[in-house]
Amino acid sequence: MAEPRIIIVGAGPAGTRAAEACVQAGIRPIVLDEGRRDGGQIYRRQPDNFTRPYTKLYGTEAPRAQALHETFDGLNDRIDYCPETLVWNIADGHVRTATRTMESALPFDALLLCTGATDRLMPVKGWQFAGSYSLGGAQVALKSQAVSIGHKVVFMGSGPLLYLVASQYVQAGADVVAVLDTAPYSARIKALPDLLAVPSVLWNGVALTLALKRAGVMVRNSVKPLEILGDAADGVSGIRFRVGDGAEQMIACDAVAMGHHLRPETQLADLARCKFAFDPVTRQWLPERDGDGRSSIAGVYLAGDGAKILGARSAEASGRLTALAALGDLGLPVDKGEMASLRGDVGTYAKFARGLATAFPWPAEQAGALPDEAILCRCEGVTAGDLRAVMRETGAKEANRAKAFSRVGMGRCQGRYCGLAAAELIAAQAGIPVERVGRLRGQAPVKPINISIGDTDA
């Protein structure tokens, strides 16, 4: 029997452990990744000619990051690793890939989507000005390029990443002006039982907050962002906000890093025609999968943050578990006991993830409160007021319909950064539960591809 063809999309924590499991089973998987290097986002590797040690880059996660990178490096001659390769579509049992020069169709018997996540953003008036970045973007700047996103940086939003990146910036010598947490401090207490599911990660969070305060960084909770101040030519100049129901305050800065935890990159699962279901805890649509990572489509498996946000540690367990499930489904022998143990690991992180959603809630209500003049869709320059007007004129209250009439979500990023907030705004305006708004339907290519792709004469 011919060796089964396994394709893994994504060389982050989930994809690395999935590739490892395949290699251990005697299979040579194809590993496709868009980046220049493996590691994903949280364990993003710096360029070869950078010198910072692991402890400086990854702090308490340094041992895990190092182990992951060494694993991937060790797999190199036993996998077909294709960096800088975009999977732009999936059809008929093939993934379609694009590099700078070539377009190919690769057949698979099992497809493991380990596509990771991006930040989840709630628009703020003025977030279109130069100097606005996602929290993840601010972290990439530091981790993989040793730069700060600005001379005076404000971190704003909610989630563990907020405190992590801010403290990484402080330690690296950047000027961090403030950390503005939109979550109330009491939410963290309420979430304590679930957060204790992974005590070491909880402790990290507490330590980070203390370290920031000791460094003299202003830290505020229950923040209501009002506006990112700036101008068209020079970009961000400050931020206006309230603490709770308190008076308006303004801080001068030239960079704002924003985000509210993460959202999975589910576009390929969508193109693979996986079924999705609404997750009320995170108010996002997620691809359905069983306890082992099988999607609703035979042969397509989903692992790591690309399916559900459970963090990097869970992604490693999930990647391995899903690969074992795929190998077992292909008729190869797998250790059922190990799979049961991995399922337990993933379950533990699921409890922690619920705690995170309670401690650092997605401020859905901010969407309905956006002033009309606030830009909602950065790609197309569509304001909250534009969308509201379109809804009044056309009665549209479903995500794709609203997009068709207003252009929200119709730009290059395909609604990655505006889609969730737009759904909340539509729900608020129409007076319906956000689940009824639906989700933006995925359309290939998942990222822009060049018209000359595949031109052998070019």
């Binding site: 868009e34 980046g35 220049r36 986002q41 710096q46 360029p47 070869d48 000619n49 950078f50 010198t51 910072r52 991006t118 930040d119 279109q128 000005f129 130069a130 100097g131 606005s132 970045y133 996602s134 993840g136 973007g137 601010a138 990439v140 700047a141 530091l142 390029q145 040793a146 730069v147 700060s148 996103i149 600005g150 001379h151 690296a172 010598g173 950047a174 700036g230 101008d231 068209a232 030519a233 020079d234 970009g235 030239d254 960079a255 990159e265 830009i375 950065r378 790609c379 197309e380 320059g381 569509v382 730009g411 290059r412 990023c413 990655r416 950064y417 990222k447 822009p448 060049n450």
Partner: protein, 101 residues
């Protein structure tokens, strides 16, 4: 005034690229975005608003950092390495139609 601030790793070989016709000094290992924003404050003009843009996600998701080469190619600044000899434009070249007769 530059937007990004180098916090370290400055002991790397330098390279020169051109941006809007002017030479820009960068370091090997810089992405194009870091090369541009370590010298200047913005990357491009928004198509549908008055504001300049300077990228957003740095991980190839937002598609807000595309710049152009003088020969009309498009490069995503956050995921492209700065390289000697690059000739980058931060505004969209007007359509040119080479004569195909």
């Amino acid at each position: 005034m530059s937007r990004f601030v180098r916090l370290g790793e400055t002991d790397r070989p330098g390279l020169t690229l051109h941006v809007d016709g002017a030479p820009v000094a960068a370091l090997e290992g810089d992405t194009l975005m870091v090369a541009l924003l370590s010298q200047g404050a913005t990357l491009r003009q928004s198509e549908f608003g008055p504001e300049k843009r300077a990228g957003f996600c740095l991980m190839g998701a937002c598609q807000d950092c595309w710049v152009w080469t003088e020969s009309g190619d498009r490069l995503r600044a956050c995921s492209t390495l700065a390289a000697p000899g690059q000739r980058i434009l931060t505004s969209q070249p007007e359509a040119t139609w080479p004569n195909h007769a």
